[in-house]
């Protein structure tokens, strides 16, 4: 099996998504609530949802990479 394409996967660039996820989830949650406590808990849920969605997409892409490079 050829692992070379996987090595080229820019994993480090994924860290740049983290501040964006935090900002997006907090701002989105803040437009749905007025008090700080519900904003933070909703923001946490939205953030988890986004990270989960990204994880699924990455898993699919990595699987496709394996399949193509095989």
């Amino acid at each position: 099996m050829n692992y070379l394409p996987l090595a080229a996967f820019p994993v480090n660039f994924l860290w740049y998504a983290l501040p964006l996820v935090v900002a997006v989830s907090l701002v989105y949650a803040a437009t749905r609530h007025e008090e700080m406590a519900p904003i933070l808990s909703h923001g946490l849920r939205v953030g988890a949802w986004i990270v989960g969605f990204m994880a699924i997409v990455i898993a699919i892409m990595v699987a496709m990479l394996w399949w193509v490079s095989d």
Partner: protein, 244 residues
Amino acid sequence: MVKGLRPEGIPQNVCRKAVRYQQSGGNLPVNKVAVDPQSQKTIPLKDPMLAAFLAWLVPGLGHLYQGRTAKAVLFFICLTGTFLYGCYLGSGDKQHDVGWARVVYFQWDDDDIRYSYFGQVGIGLPALPAVVQAFRARHGKEPLFGGFMAPPRPVAATGPVHGEDLAWKALANQPTLDNLNSELRGYFELGTVYTLIAGLLNVLAIYDAWGGPVFAQPRREEEERHSRKKDEKEKDKEAEPAKA
């Protein structure tokens, strides 16, 4: 619904909030208040149009004007922080000296139409130097502050067209778009994404300053409405054969 309460031009949902608000003894005009359906707390929106404009100008400023300080701080930190970090990613360093915040610029010609700027300008004042730089270039003046938010140099002069020729001369010392991409590598796109998302997110904050939070409807109320609709449909179905 209280008869005659809804003035013309006030949407239905605002009116429902206003009914609850006025029943609780509120005295602000109906379009200048939002009501949290769960806690029944009222949120004074003061002058919503002015608040929206201020929210566009500086993220959080509209909320500060309305006295919603916690949200003002949250919006300011999240949105301005994201935008500035994007500008930082899109800036050069000693090795790749292309100037500061090169990912935010306004340009509209055949070679490069910068659509991203229409999202980035959602952040307001922090993105406006790009308009000043583009305006200067169009009138043959060199960009200020070492090319901060200045448009890149056009690849070639496209003929003796007055405006474009002037811009080309004014931007002669600036890097081209190709230079920016090769010098900043992936960070050019990354910086663009950061600044674009900050601008677009501020649109949500502007709406929040104008109309208050988009509260989720309490689940019980939603379920009741759903079951009422279902009952009505069933009744209609039963009534149809009877008519026939």
